[in-house]
C-alpha cells in the first residue's frame, strides 16, 4: 500500500520553504487560479467540482459540488473556511495550514470566483498559534503580490480574506456555531432547518462553509480535472484523503491515501504495525464522535460508505488504534469528559447528560461503581440519543450530545465484561 500524493506534494518536495509564496509559485502554484480567472467561467468551475465527486472533509461528507449549488442568490455572499480542527485524533488540517497555506488561498480564490464571493474568512482555532501565523503571513504575501485585494491577477474580481482566531471551543467546528462565533457571539449552534448557511449564514447572508482539506483540493482538481480526481479512490469516496493515524502504532502520522483499502492494511503498511507487536483491541475509525470498531473488524474498507455500513463513520479521518492492554473504560471516560467539557449548554439532554455520564464513569473508574450503573449509563445515553442508533436520532440541536454516547454504547456492546468486573457482585440470598 502506497500513498497517493496530491495535496501534500508541494510540502513534501520543498520541506524547508513550502509555506512561502515563492516556493509555491515555483512549483506551479496560482497557475490554476490565474487560468480560471482569465478564461474560465463560474459554471465551468462548478462543473469540474461536481464531476470530481469530492465530499466534504470536515466530517459530514456532504458532496461539495452540491453544497456550492445550494448557495442562494444575493448581492452579499461569504466563504468561511472551517479551520477549527479540534476533533480528538485529528491533525490533518494542521499540516495543510502550517506547511502549505498558499494552496488553501488559491483554492479559496477559485471557490470565490465560482460562487461570486468577494469576502472570505479563515476561522482557525486559537490553539493553532503557529499554523495561524503561517496562514496570516501567507495572506499578507498574497496581498502584496496582488493575488488578493482589488482586481486580483488583473481581472475584475475582488477578494478580501480575514484570518480569524477562535478561542478554545470545539463546538465552533459545527458550522452554525462557527458562524455565531465569527459574528462575535457565543459559539452556540443554530437550529437547522429551517435555514442552512447556504441560504442564511453569516450575517444572515448566503454562506459557504468548507473544510480546509476540501478547499485545498480545489487547485489540484482545476489543474487536472474533475474526472482525473474522480478516477482516484472508489465510487462514493473519490480522490485522496489525509488520514491522521494515532494511538499504539509504530509510525503514527498523517497519510494521504486513496480511500478503499482496509484499516488493517493501513496500519500494517503505513503505520508499520502495532507497537510492541501487540494486537488491536478496538479502534476509532473517524474521530472522537465515531462509534468504535473491534480489533477483529480491521478488514473494514476505509470508505465513507463501508464504515457507515458497520454502524460508525469515517468522520474527520482520524484513526485511533487501541491495543490489547488499553483500559477501555478510561478511554471512554476521556472521550465522554471531552464532550462534557465542550457541550455549549444550550440543550438539556447534552448539557446535563454528558455531565452525568462523566460522573458515573468517574465513579466506576475509581472503584465506587454501583450494580445499576451500566443500565443507568445506557438510560442516560438513550435520553440523549433515543434508540442508540448510528447515525443517531437527536434530541439536541447539533450532534455533539449524541456523539458523547458513541463510546459508551461501543463499550457496552462489545466490551461489557471490562466494566462489569469493576462493579460489585449481586448478592443472592438463599
Amino acid at each position: 500500500m502506497k500513498e497517493t500524493i496530491l495535496l501534500t506534494k508541494h510540502m513534501r518536495e520543498n520541506p524547508e520553504e513550502s509555506h512561502l509564496l515563492k516556493s509555491y509559485e515555483k512549483n506551479g502554484g496560482y497557475k490554476g487560479a490565474k487560468k480560471v480567472l482569465k478564461s474560465g467561467s463560474p459554471e465551468s468551475v462548478l462543473e469540474e467540482i461536481k464531476s470530481s465527486n469530492i465530499r466534504g472533509r470536515g466530517g459530514a461528507g456532504f458532496p461539495t459540488g452540491v453544497k456550492w449549488g445550494f448557495l442562494a442568490e444575493d448581492e452579499e455572499r461569504y466563504l468561511v473556511i472551517n479551520a477549527d480542527e479540534s476533533e480528538p485524533g485529528t491533525f490533518k488540517d494542521r499540516i495543510l495550514l502550517e506547511r502549505d497555506p498558499h494552496q488553501l488561498i488559491e483554492g479559496m480564490i477559485i471557490t470565490c470566483f465560482a460562487a461570486n464571493i468577494s469576502k472570505a474568512f479563515i476561522y482557525i482555532r486559537g490553539e493553532y498559534a503557529k499554523p495561524a501565523r503561517r496562514v496570516q503571513n501567507a495572506v499578507e504575501q498574497a496581498y502584496e503580490k496582488g493575488y488578493l485585494g482589488k482586481n486580483i491577477f488583473g481581472s475584475a474580481m475582488d477578494l478580501d480574506i480575514v484570518v480569524h482566531l477562535g478561542a478554545g471551543a470545539y463546538i465552533c467546528g459545527e458550522e452554525t456555531a462557527l458562524l455565531n462565533s465569527l459574528e462575535g457571539r457565543r459559539g452556540e449552534p443554530r437550529l437547522k432547518p429551517p435555514f442552512f448557511p447556504a441560504v442564511k449564514g453569516l450575517y444572515n447572508k448566503p454562506t459557504l462553509v468548507n473544510n480546509v482539506e476540501t478547499i485545498s483540493s480545489v487547485p489540484w482538481i482545476m489543474n487536472n480535472s474533475g474526472k482525473d480526481y474522480a478516477s482516484l479512490g472508489v465510487e462514493g469516496s473519490t480522490g485522496t484523503r489525509i488520514f491522521s493515524l494515532s494511538g499504539h502504532i509504530n509510525n503514527p502520522g498523517n497519510y494521504e491515501i486513496e480511500m478503499g483499502s482496509s484499516f488493517g492494511e493501513f496500519v500494517e503498511s503505513l503505520g508499520k504495525g502495532v507497537r510492541n507487536k501487540k494486537s488491536i483491541k478496538a479502534y476509532i475509525p473517524g474521530g472522537a464522535s465515531a462509534p468504535w470498531l473491534r480489533g477483529d473488524q480491521l478488514d473494514v474498507k476505509m470508505t465513507i460508505d463501508d464504515v457507515a455500513n458497520e454502524g460508525s463513520m469515517l468522520g474527520s479521518g482520524a484513526v485511533v488504534m487501541m491495543d490489547e492492554d488499553t483500559n477501555l473504560l478510561l478511554a471512554a471516560k476521556s472521550l465522554v469528559s471531552f464532550f462534557a467539557h465542550e457541550s455549549c449548554g444550550q440543550c438539556t439532554p447534552c448539557r446535563e447528560g454528558t455531565t452525568w455520564l462523566e460522573n458515573i464513569l468517574d465513579r466506576i473508574a475509581s472503584g465506587r461503581g454501583r450494580l445499576s450503573d451500566i443500565d443507568l449509563l445506557l438510560d442516560v445515553c438513550d435520553n440523549i440519543s433515543p434508540g442508540l442508533t448510528w447515525p443517531p436520532k437527536m434530541t439536541t440541536i447539533c450532534p455533539l450530545g449524541p456523539s458523547a454516547t458513541a463510546s459508551i454504547v461501543s463499550l457496552m456492546k462489545d466490551f461489557r465484561s471490562e466494566v462489569e468486573i469493576l462493579l460489585p457482585k449481586k448478592v443472592v440470598l438463599s
Binding site: E17, G126, E127, V162, L165, A167, G187, H248, N254
Partner: protein
C-alpha cells in the same frame, strides 16, 4: 485603567476588517488579554463602547470561550493534553508530574506569576502523543521525566520567546508528522491571537 491610544487605534483597525462591528469582539478580547493577561472589567467597558454592545454581552461571550482567561495568567501557560490519543499514551503521568513540579492544580497560577497550569482537550498533536503546549506552542512525544525537565528549564532560563522547534529538539520525541520546516518563530506571551496582528519578523 482604560486603553491607551495605540491599543484603541489597533482595535479600530481590526473593526474595519469586518462587515459588522460585533465580529471584531473575539480579536478585541485578545487585545484585552494582551494588556492585562486576563479580561479586566476596564477592558470590557472599553470593548463595549468600541463595538456598541452592552458590557453584559461582552462578558457573556468572553466567559463562553476557554482561552479568554478570566484571571491573570503566568508568564508561561502550560497546557497538557488529556484527550483520547494522549490519554492512551499515558498523558495522566505527564499531568501528575507537571502538577507535582509546579505545585499547581488545574487553572491555577503560582505566586511568582511564572506558571499557569491547565489540562486541556485535544490540541491536534495526536500523532506525537502525549503532548503539551507552552503559550500555545506545541511540544510532542513527551515522557513524564522530559516534561519535568522542560518545566525546570523554563524556570531556569525564562526565555522571552517560546520556540516550538527548539523545545521539541530539547525535550520532545515522536512528532505528528516528519516533513517539518525548521523555523525560529514562537510566541512571546500566553496570548495567541495577538500575534496574528503583531506579526513577528521571523518567517521571511
Amino acid at each position: 485603567m482604560s486603553w491607551e491610544k495605540d491599543r484603541i487605534a489597533k482595535a479600530k483597525e481590526i473593526i474595519e476588517m469586518y462587515p459588522q462591528k460585533r465580529s471584531a469582539l473575539g480579536p478585541l478580547l485578545y487585545l484585552a488579554l494582551d494588556k492585562d493577561g486576563y479580561i479586566s472589567n476596564e477592558s470590557i467597558v472599553e470593548i463595549s463602547s468600541l463595538i456598541g454592545i452592552t458590557e453584559v454581552q461582552v462578558q457573556s461571550v468572553a466567559s463562553f470561550y476557554s482561552m479568554y482567561k478570566q484571571e491573570p495568567t503566568g508568564k508561561y501557560l502550560l497546557s497538557v493534553c488529556k484527550s483520547i490519543s494522549c490519554e492512551i499514551s499515558n498523558s495522566s503521568d505527564v499531568i501528575t508530574k507537571v502538577k507535582e513540579f509546579t505545585n499547581l492544580s488545574n487553572n491555577e497560577t503560582d505566586e511568582e506569576g511564572l506558571f499557569t497550569y491547565e489540562s486541556v482537550e485535544c490540541i491536534g498533536a495526536c500523532g506525537g502523543a502525549p503532548a503539551i503546549q507552552i503559550n500555545y506552542e506545541t511540544v510532542e512525544g513527551l515522557t513524564p521525566e522530559k516534561a519535568v525537565d522542560l518545566c525546570k528549564w523554563l524556570k531556569e532560563e525564562q526565555p522571552k520567546v517560546i520556540v516550538a522547534d527548539e523545545l521539541q529538539l530539547k525535550f520532545g520525541g515522536q512528532k505528528s508528522f516528519d516533513w517539518a520546516i525548521e523555523d525560529n518563530s514562537g510566541s512571546s506571551s500566553p496570548v495567541p491571537g495577538f500575534q496574528t496582528y503583531e506579526m513577528q519578523e521571523d518567517i521571511q
